[in-house]
């Protein structure tokens, strides 16, 4: 069986996520920090559903019970120069 990639930013497989859950990183915040999923350039936009689905399945809970990690701004990455008020030219 081939690898199932869960997080394309950080190159994390389903196997690695399941392994982390089995080691006890079984709340969504700890799982995020231990695996690094949800912390790449997409900030979870591509992987959040996969991670929640896997965690819910492994714990026998519903995705709602698993919850989502604290959503942090900004919605899209922003260059420091723009934030500093420099012109974009």
């Amino acid at each position: 069986m081939g690898k199932k990639i869960v997080c394309i930013c950080q190159d994390i497989t389903e196997e690695e996520v399941v392994d982390a859950i089995k080691q006890g990183y079984d709340d969504i915040e700890s799982l995020k920090r231990y695996t690094g999923a949800l912390t790449g350039p997409c900030q979870g936009k591509a992987c959040l559903r996969h991670v929640i689905t896997i965690l819910a399945r492994e714990l026998g809970k519903s995705p709602k019970e698993v919850g989502v990690p604290t959503q942090r701004p900004p919605i899209k990455p922003i260059a420091l120069g723009i934030l500093a008020g420099e012109s974009s030219e």
Binding site: E29, P41, T70, L80, G81, A84, G85, E86
Partner: protein, 386 residues
């Protein structure tokens, strides 16, 4: 569910887990750590993980130096890579007054054989070539400081504690500390009561609240601190960089992202955990000012952490005189990584051997009772960011 243990530690951060680890190491297995959230939900998981031995008093330098020495061995001891990179800490001076202050501080550290030194702008440039050294008059550099991945240390401690027989109860809240005849008796949690004659308050920014439920007044206050993290870059920034001009702090983490922080304008105590755009703008301007290439670097996310600040900027360590068995391990003011590592061992000695190591004396809670001192308030401003 009621049970009886030797020690209850309130707070599953670096301090609480550090103490639990040292207790288990000394053979005391019947230890329970209570954590209201997940491991490291408080300040421990919200800062860049820098160690700074460049501190303003001899007692704190002694603790920090010992802590750094211990951190060097912890990956092996815990059998868990805490990712400690000893690339130094660099405190940048922009005025003559700041230069003088750093030189005094370096002399103090050198007395205790901490190898910090004052260097000129050209040497600063050699250590961090990307820095715009035009306005920098010099810097204090401590080569033995470094950066740890705080979560790795937390997880390493947690695994070792569990292996040694200790227990960590996450998502469990301490609601009351029962005291009878001046002696701690039990902790009431949302999942029942735990009897113990020793209770450790390692609750970080919530330490004053925990002291309150034991009937003890602790002068600690939470202080907001905002952080941002950027996309990843190749390794280019070895040391933790701190600007004395505005308190800007920069560190490159192991994965390559840059963590950036700058103190807020208002320093009033606040437990507000909301991120602000104002911080992003201020941090961006300050970062670009010293590293111009940063203008194209993108911010990935931002968050808030709370420091546990004391009136004199020093931690509160040791037993409360009027409440036997109630041990304070808090007030680290943002310097907790290095100092709490050392404090954990000293406090474990106090708990197991019943005798307080001499170094703990000046950190006692009793110092606040002796005089309602507010001097030194704000003393933490320059150094709090580690």
């Amino acid at each position: 569910m009621n049970e009886k243990v030797d020690v209850v530690i309130i707070g599953g951060g670096l301090t609480g887990l550090g103490i639990a680890y040292r207790l288990v190491e000394k053979g005391m297995k019947n230890v329970v750590v209570l954590e209201k959230g997940y491991i490291g939900v408080g300040a421990s998981g919200r800062f860049p993980g820098g160690t700074v031995q460049q501190l303003p008093t001899l007692d704190e330098i002694t603790l920090a130096k010992e802590g750094v020495k211990m951190l060097r061995h912890l990956s092996d001891e815990l059998n868990f890579n805490i990712m400690f990179r000893q690339k130094g800490s660099l405190l940048l001076a922009f005025t003559e007054e700041q230069v003088d202050r750093l030189m005094v501080s370096v002399r103090l550290q050198n007395i205790l054989k901490v190898k910090s030194k004052f260097i000129g702008p050209s040497d600063v440039k050699k250590i961090v070539p990307m820095l715009d050294a035009d306005k920098i008059l010099g810097a204090a550099f401590c080569p033995t400081d470094g950066i740890v991945y705080p979560y790795a240390l937390l997880w390493g401690y947690a695994q070792a504690v569990r292996r040694g027989g200790g227990r960590i109860r996450t998502f469990t809240e301490a609601r009351e500390v029962k005291v009878e005849d001046g002696q701690v008796r039990a902790v009431v949690t949302n999942e029942g009561e735990i009897e113990a004659s020793t209770v450790v308050n390692a609750a970080g920014a919530r330490s004053a609240d925990i002291a309150k439920i034991a009937g003890v007044k602790l002068p600690n206050e939470p202080r907001r601190r905002e952080f941002l993290v950027t996309e990843t870059l190749k390794p280019f920034l070895g040391p933790l960089v701190l600007s004395l001009h505005n308190g800007l702090c920069l560190a490159q983490a192991m994965r390559g992202e840059v963590i950036c922080s700058i103190p807020g304008r208002k320093s009033a105590p606040s437990g507000d955990m909301r991120s602000s755009v104002e911080f992003l703008e201020r941090a961006a301007r300050a970062a670009i000012e010293i590293i111009p290439q940063f203008r194209d670097l993108k911010v990935m996310r931002q968050w808030v952490g709370l420091y546990d600040a004391t009136p004199d900027g020093k931690p509160v360590l040791g037993e409360v005189k009027d409440v036997r068995g109630f041990i304070q391990a808090n007030g680290f003011c943002g310097r907790g990584l290095e100092t709490s590592t050392a404090a954990a061992r000293l406090l474990a000695e106090l708990i197991v051997d019943g005798k307080a190591p001499a170094l703990l004396e000046s950190f006692s809670i009793e110092r606040f009772a002796e005089k309602e001192s507010t001097e030194g308030k704000g003393a933490m401003v320059d150094f709090q960011i580690s």
